[in-house]
């Protein structure tokens, strides 16, 4: 869709953003847009959020479509539902843009069937780290509510990858998008972005006359600032990972728990190759290696794991930051993977989660591929 064609329905703000989205969702429920809604809900102890698939309308009031924190990637929750057999259930999934991008990648990897799923996104101010949230959930809630009231989208309180995220708004792959911006504090915009999205709005009897060029301009300004942030951050990360010595120093505290991969929405393998018997080092080999170098350190293969995981999933990495949240030794895994991902994706002219029909590069064969690899090697050598 061309940018000039993007139009939306104007909905006046009801109390706050959360309540407004909740009331839209309720209306969609009533008008038979779906059988169930997948959205975050605070856990009973009020110290975190969990994904809940809701069928009972009353439960929607307890849920929060815009959660300040992302303990589990939404794509993971959705794939859990469809892992064993297909469902005819029509589901609305309200997610952050990076979660929707992961959903798209997982659908390409045959882990999610999008046929009955309507994806709803919103302009994402970023999420707080789990650590920040759990230290004081009440304070975090308040801080996040304030952020939404005055949406600058450049808040320092959010995770590092969120500060640098330039995919925080309308994506080509979502069905419906909720837009809002600071110049118009009284309204939000519901934007249909696909055939399914349009059908849904028709069911709600909603017209979409609203011109959104002003909102888009605002988002574009923020995007530019975020890209600048990202480039700054990537400069630091480059120094952390280029060359074996920097890589080793960066991952020196890694304990080999592989929690980055278990939190990762893209790493869907039931058993990671690096946890399998095939990746185990034989005792003879261990001793041989020790004798060759005088000593070996454990866990074995920690750099191989990182580089291996990069080669397996960086083309699909959506920079959601869950790996950093899950790391017990505070390695900025997400910033590193995000940096590498941007480069690998560029090599293949691919953007993760950007197009439902585009194949993941490593799943396709092209006679002329990675043409620039010679130059890359030259660059690396020179």
């Amino acid at each position: 869709m061309k940018k000039s064609q993007i139009k939306g329905a104007k909905i006046s703000l009801n109390k706050n953003l959360k309540e407004t989205i909740v009331s839209i969702l309720k209306k969609m429920f009533q008008n038979d847009c779906c059988d169930a809604i997948l959205m975050p809900m605070q856990v009973p102890a009020k110290d975190s959020y969990a994904w809940v698939l809701i069928k009972d309308k009353k439960l929607i009031d307890d849920a929060n479509p815009i959660a300040p924190v992302m303990p589990v990637q939404g794509a993971k929750a959705l794939s859990n539902f469809s892992r064993k057999g297909e469902s005819k259930l029509k589901i609305l999934a309200v997610m952050k843009p990076c979660e929707i991008r992961a959903v798209v990648e997982l659908s390409k990897l045959n882990q999610i069937n999008l046929e009955n799923i309507t994806l709803i996104s919103y302009d994402c101010p970023g999420a707080l780290s789990i650590k920040n949230y759990r230290e004081d959930p009440d304070k975090a809630e308040k801080k996040f509510t304030d952020m939404l009231k005055k949406p600058e989208f450049l808040d320092n309180y959010v995770k590092s990858v969120c500060k640098n995220c330039d995919n925080f708004s309308l994506l080509p792959v979502c069905d419906l998008h909720v837009g809002y911006y600071k110049s118009d504090k009284n309204n939000v915009f519901l934007i249909p972005n696909s055939k399914r999205g349009k059908q849904n709005l028709e069911k709600l009897n909603m017209k979409t006359p609203q011109d959104l060029s002003e909102w888009m301009q605002d988002i574009e300004e923020i995007r530019k600032k975020r890209v600048k942030n990202k480039q700054e951050r990537f400069k630091q990360i480059k120094n952390m990972v280029e060359g074996f010595d920097s890589l080793r120093d960066t991952f020196t505290h890694c304990i080999g728990c592989h929690n980055c991969r278990s939190a990762c929405p893209i790493c869907y393998c039931r058993q990671c190759y690096f946890d399998s018997e095939s990746a185990k080092t034989e005792t003879d080999m261990m001793l041989l290696n020790a004798e060759k170098r005088g000593a070996i350190t454990f866990p074995l293969d920690r750099i191989i794991f990182q580089v291996g995981r990069m080669s397996h999933m960086s083309l699909s990495c959506v920079s959601c930051g869950l790996c950093t949240d899950a790391c017990p030794v505070s390695i900025p895994v997400a910033d590193i993977f995000s940096y590498v991902a941007e480069n690998t994706q560029k090599q293949f002219g691919y953007k993760s989660g950007n197009d439902k029909t585009e194949q993941i590069p490593l799943k396709t064969f092209q006679l002329q591929e990675v043409g620039g690899i010679k130059e890359l090697v030259k660059d690396a050598e020179g």
Binding site: A36, V72, F81, C257, A263, R270, F298, A326, C327
Partner: protein
């Protein structure tokens, strides 16, 4: 009285001298110990075969990057043993793994020590531990619990190694700066030290002091146990405690007892079919996804809690700060008691759930 080897050097340096002797005399095929890498506050387990490299060894450093029992279980049969310096909890977990045919005791000369506890991951990552180290050793030699050690360690009443071939005396040993005192507990140890040029005396660990420390540790443990209320609150309590669990299963992956290559709860057994999820959705109105958050915890408890040796790695790695270790130990100790079982104590003692007794739990459900 036990045989004691005395090296006139600090405990750590004296131990390194002995390790070097074993390596140089070719009595072992390698030394398994913590070493300090080039980075500040970074210690890793290493297998050293070159005696010179023992200069970087910190065999007594108070940190567990990985529970060493887990690493030792990766060694298949060796022609010549490896000498391994590990903490009492790591040794106990190795014994539990050996019982599960996941390791071979013959492979190792096991050296452990009276343990003063280990640093947390967060202090290590924040590069605090190197500066705390001298205060740590002062506390240990005075039989005090250093303030920055893991709370799991402050609650550990198994700080005297079980099944060690050699025990280095540290906790409450006033002379750890000037003398290394190594108790020779096994015939293997006595054979290995032959030719090592040093004094051998008769001595034993100070029982009154051990009891004093044990009492303090047990009291702290009870305090931690009492903070966990799940026994009184049923399923709601479990949901309160584990509700924030993100299902990453890091606790199981760092657990030395959880040796399964693929955890049952990650297998397809626990993938609910869509139709089953739909019927649950109809029944309850809402379903949390991914499913089985509490079931995983209860399941893991039933699989391994009686063997839990309380190393605390699960708490260290939990990204949402659930006191996993306290919960598992609290329940584990209770379960082990029912079976009259002490994990890691005796390699010949069978794991309760692997044996069949005709008369067992005859009163179950009656209280």
């Amino acid at each position: 009285m036990d045989q004691v080897l005395i090296v006139k050097n600090s405990a750590e340096k004296g131990l390194i001298e002995f390790l070097k002797f074993l390596l140089e005399k070719d009595r072992v095929s390698g030394v398994f110990t913590l070493i300090k890498t080039k980075k500040q506050d970074d210690y890793d387990y290493a297998l050293i075969t070159e005696p010179e490299l023992l200069k970087d060894a910190f065999p007594l450093h108070p940190f567990l990057p990985v529970n060493a029992g887990k690493i030792l279980s990766n060694f298949t049969d060796l022609k010549k043993p490896v000498v391994a310096v590990i903490k009492p909890c790591e040794l106990r977990s190795f014994i539990e793994l050996v019982k599960r045919t996941q390791g071979n005791l013959e492979n190792f000369l096991l050296i452990s020590f009276t343990c003063g506890g280990a640093f947390t991951f967060s202090d290590t990552v924040e590069n605090k531990t190197d500066t705390l180290l001298s205060d740590y050793w002062t506390a240990v030699s005075n039989a005090n619990d250093f303030k920055n050690i893991r709370s799991t360690c402050k609650a550990c009443d198994n700080f005297i190694p079980m099944n060690a071939d050699i025990t280095v005396s540290l906790f409450g040993n006033k002379n750890i700066d000037s003398s290394c005192k190594m108790f020779l507990n096994s015939e293997k140890a006595k054979t290995m030290v032959k030719g090592f040029d040093t004094e051998i005396l008769e001595d034993q660990l100070d029982k009154t002091q051990i009891e004093k420390i044990s009492k303090r540790r047990t009291e702290y443990k009870e305090k931690l146990f009492n903070e966990i209320k799940i026994q009184d609150t049923g399923l709601d309590g479990l949901i309160d405690e584990f509700g924030k669990c993100i299902g990453c299963h890091a606790c199981s992956r760092v657990c030395p007892i959880c040796y399964c290559v693929l955890c049952d709860f990650e297998s397809s057994t626990y993938d609910d079919s869509s139709s089953m999820l739909e019927s649950e959705l109809n029944r309850k109105g809402g379903v949390r996804l991914p499913t089985d958050t509490v079931l995983y915890q209860i399941g893991r408890l039933s699989h391994m809690s009686f063997s839990c040796i309380g190393c605390g790695q699960c708490t260290e790695v939990c990204p949402v700060n659930i006191p996993v270790s306290v919960i598992f130990r609290k329940i584990g100790e209770k379960v082990a008691k029912i079976f009259d079982y002490i994990p890691g104590k005796d390699v010949a003692e069978q794991i309760p759930v692997t044996i069949f007794k005709e008369e067992e739990f005859t009163t179950l459900g009656e209280d």
